[in-house]
């Protein structure tokens, strides 16, 4: 183990009040098994997995209930044993508030495991191990929820360095901090494992300097590991953003649209590495996570929660809100979103839930015009000019905004955070981006439609000609026969009718 001292500093960033200590007073606790678990099928970026169970099936803890569909997808497992009560649309913790498919399990409270099958990766080889990982259901637990096996398996690029993201820069969130304090041993074992699977030569753990307890745990457990170094980065939000952290660690600036793997670097979050370790070494798929509940909450702390547990259970266990306003934020205060409803289950992406402080949700002061003070530009970690982007977005000059690299904006919120005119800058960027994206789509559709239309006209023309030819032929061929046939039919009908009339009269 060695501590890396070099300093690379990205532009700006903000020093917000971190408010982390309020949720680290007690260790990680468990939330009991709920009676019903609602497990959304899509808890990751990518395709809906294929369902493997039906209503009424009895499942064991860890049993596969949906299998990854294609490579950009992740499996879903039963978090506890019980019966599949139904498969229906449920509300998801997502900004859209739209329901999606989920499996509802009635737990039998026995929490009975399926047979765990560890993977002997050294024996079956790296490729087979990575393939197996697709069935682990593991996704990035830092909140991005990107299927983890995808970050393992590219043969095209050689990975030299594994970077472990332990920065956890958003205010309030402490789940990674607590995991490192309590499960550093698993983490280091996981690092050795992931490093081998990636074929990387060394590992660097990037951690913010506001987690001394976690740091000392890491130092203790990495003493004899020459390949693992630790880089303590200053507490400046957003140091935990992947590209910012890579820059802080080794000075490489990875632009928008490029992946770190192209630079020989792969990054995993702390909790994700532990999940991979538990799966491969113990055969435990991804069934639970550590979630921070903090903010306006009576007892802010970290819980280990089974996926599918109602969020309400978590809220109730932590004593509910101190000041009741029934507003909750998922994620941190800088990049999270307000939950449209709290009748949602805990999912793989739920790293933190905040009871909204009154000042977080009350109507903000009316914004003043931009005074061009450039405070936002000084704070932007991507070195954008937020005041220009704002001007272009506001006046619907989206192409100009794009020229000024709107799509490089990571929506970190630093600019809004510092703006003395209280302008909700990020919201303007989201708006401009969505407008541009729908413009691209419309353009694409129009292109496709135009092509299709030209093709259609051609086809119609051809069909019309063919039909005309066909008809002409048929007419020429069969006109005589048909006419006589028709006349015969009519005659027959008339004579039949006449017969019926005659019969009727006879009866009378």
């Amino acid at each position: 183990m060695k501590i890396i001292e070099n300093i690379f500093k990205f532009n700006g960033g903000v020093k917000a009040q971190t408010r982390k200590s309020i949720s680290t007073k007690v260790g990680i606790q468990k939330i009991g098994i709920p009676k019903y678990l609602k497990i959304p099928l899509r808890q990751h970026i990518g395709n809906l997995p294929k369902l493997k169970v039906k209503e009424g099936d009895v499942v064991l803890k860890g049993q596969l209930i949906a299998e990854a569909d294609g490579s950009v997808s992740a499996a879903i497992h039963a978090p506890t044993s019980g019966k599949i009560k139904s498969i229906e649309k449920i509300l998801l913790p997502h900004p859209s508030g739209l329901p999606d498919y989920g499996v509802i399990i009635e737990s039998d409270m026995k929490d009975k495991w399926i047979k765990k099958i560890p993977i002997n990766w050294a024996k079956i080889g790296v490729e087979a191990t990575i393939k197996a990982l697709q069935n682990s259901g593991i996704v990035g637990l830092g909140g991005a929820a990107f299927p983890s096996h995808l970050k393992m398996g590219s043969k095209a690029t050689k990975i030299n360095t594994l970077i472990v993201n332990a920065a956890e820069c958003e205010p309030y969130i402490t789940c990674d901090d607590m995991v490192m304090r309590e499960r550093s041993e698993d983490l280091i074992n996981g690092i050795e494992l992931v490093e081998s699977l990636l074929g990387a030569k060394n590992t660097i753990i990037g951690i913010e300097d506001n987690k001394p307890e976690a740091l000392s745990q890491l130092q203790f457990h990495t003493k004899s590991h020459k390949n693992i170094s630790i880089k303590v980065v200053p507490t400046i939000y957003p140091s935990g953003d992947a590209k910012r952290l890579i820059f802080l660690i080794n000075g490489i600036k990875i632009p928008k649209g490029k992946r770190s793997s192209e630079y020989g670097i792969q990054m995993f979050n702390v909790a994700t590495i532990i999940a991979i370790y538990r799966y491969i070494s113990f055969g435990e798929p991804s069934l639970s996570r550590i979630t921070t509940i903090s903010g306006n909450i009576t007892k802010p702390q970290n819980y280990e929660v089974l996926f599918g547990t109602p969020l309400k259970a978590l809220i109730n266990q932590s004593g509910g809100q101190k000041i009741k306003n029934d507003n909750f934020i998922m994620g941190g205060p800088m990049m999270g979103f307000k939950l449209p409803s709290i009748d949602v289950p805990v999912t793989k992406a739920m790293n933190c839930v905040l009871g909204a402080e009154p000042e977080m949700i009350e109507d903000k002061k009316e914004p003043l015009p931009c005074i061009r003070c450039a405070k936002c530009a000084e704070a932007c970690p991507v070195s954008l000019q937020p005041q220009e982007l704002y001007w272009f977005s506001k006046s619907d000059q989206f192409e100009k905004a794009q020229e000024y690299k709107l799509f490089d904006c990571i929506e970190c919120g630093c600019c809004s955070y510092v703006c003395p005119s209280n302008i909700p800058l990020v919201q303007f960027y989201r708006y401009a981006k969505s407008e541009l994206i729908s413009e691209f789509r419309a353009q694409e559709e129009a292109d496709v439609a135009r092509e299709r239309n030209e093709f259609r006209i051609m086809r119609l023309e051809r069909e019309r000609q063919e039909r005309a030819e066909r008809n002409a032929k048929r007419r020429a061929q069969s006109s005589k026969e048909e006419k006589s046939k028709l006349i015969d039919e009519k005659r027959a009908a008339i004579s039949a009718a006449m017969d019926r009339i005659k019969e009727y009269e006879k009866k009378k």
Partner: protein, 329 residues
């Protein structure tokens, strides 16, 4: 659409707070100013601030904008104060009123109000006065000629009545220009020495305020430092060529409001550039123009014109001084 999206937390800062800090930073300079040139300064300041608030109130009403939100932003008070302390302490009230109206009504609100003014409002007011009333605008009292409050009030209300010789003083820059114009080769500096000393100390007052603003992160180093260094370098070049005809660089920096300009005038965010490189270009441009106008132009003081001219160039400067976006270099 814009409600309740991240970020949910915000730094407690506001335009009002920024302007308040700027006002605080002006205090040392103003105190020294009052010490040397008398209470007239305070009359000027009050008149300018009152005019600014009243005219802004009326205009906000006319434009149908929220008076509560906009008048409390403090930007009108700052602009009016900067104008007032640029005007001689023995100017009559109507000079102040006219100048402030130019600043607030024309330079600020006719251009769209807070955030939209193309030109530095205080400098527009100043330039308008300098062109219209050059005699009043260049007449300063002898420093520490203690006039009573009463006498100052009289001058403020009724103007400077009798021309007392030796009471008023030309500024050093002005004086030398006149002497050279008259063909005098050897210049007796004693006649303006006390004035020069006074402005030096006032300048240091502004310097202190400027350091405070930098410390409070209201301004960055780019504008003031570039301005001071550029002015020093240009003045040194000319002075080394001919030390008699051209004044030494320190006089240029310590007189005629150079330090006020460096820390308070060109740092006006709205009419200035936003990028770090842009700020350097802007300050360099102002310094060159200030020097040229002072030495070769028709006016003793060139700051207002230099700033206004450079304001025009700001969109261009900003456009071509964009910093490299992360990962794009």
């Amino acid at each position: 659409m814009f409600n309740q999206q991240s970020p949910f937390i915000q730094k407690t800062s506001s335009v009002t707070q920024v302007m308040l800090l700027v006002m605080l930073a002006l205090i040392p300079g103003i105190l020294v100013y009052v010490y040397y040139f008398g209470f007239g300064v305070l009359f000027n300041l009050s008149a300018a601030i009152i005019t600014a608030l009243v005219s802004e109130f009326i205009i906000l009403k006319m434009r149908g904008l929220s008076v509560k939100n906009y008048i409390t932003d403090g930007s009108a008070i700052v602009a009016a104060s900067l104008l007032a302390i640029s005007i001689p302490s023995i100017a009559p009230w109507w000079i102040i009123v006219i100048g402030t109206l130019f600043t607030i009504v024309i330079a600020k609100h006719l251009y769209g109000g807070l955030g939209s003014n193309l030109f530095n409002p205080a400098m527009v007011g100043y330039a308008a006065l300098l062109i219209s009333f050059p005699a009043i605008m260049t007449k300063w009292p002898q420093p520490i000629e203690y006039l009573s409050i009463h006498e100052h009030l009289n001058i403020f209300l009724y103007g400077l009545k009798e021309k007392v010789d030796g009471f008023t003083s030309a500024t050093p820059l002005d004086f030398i220009k006149t002497q050279l114009f008259l063909g005098n080769k050897v210049i007796d500096t004693s006649s303006y020495q006390s004035y020069a000393d006074a402005t030096k100390i006032i300048g240091i007052g502004y310097l202190l305020g400027g350091i405070f603003l930098w410390y409070k992160k209201i301004i960055t180093w780019h504008l003031p430092i570039t301005f001071i260094i550029s002015l020093f370098v240009i003045a040194s070049i000319f002075w080394l060529i001919d030390p008699i005809q051209f004044q030494n660089p320190m006089t240029h920096i310590l007189s005629g409001g150079s330090l006020l300009c460096a820390f308070f005038i060109i740092t006006d965010p709205v009419s200035g550039p936003t990028t770090p490189k842009g700020k350097i270009i802007f300050a360099l441009g102002v310094a060159v123009l200030v020097y040229l106008i002072r030495v070769f132009g028709g006016y003793p003081e060139g700051i207002a014109f230099a700033v206004i001219f450079m304001n025009i160039c700001v969109p261009l400067i900003d456009k071509y001084s964009q910093p490299k976006v992360f990962g794009h270099d």
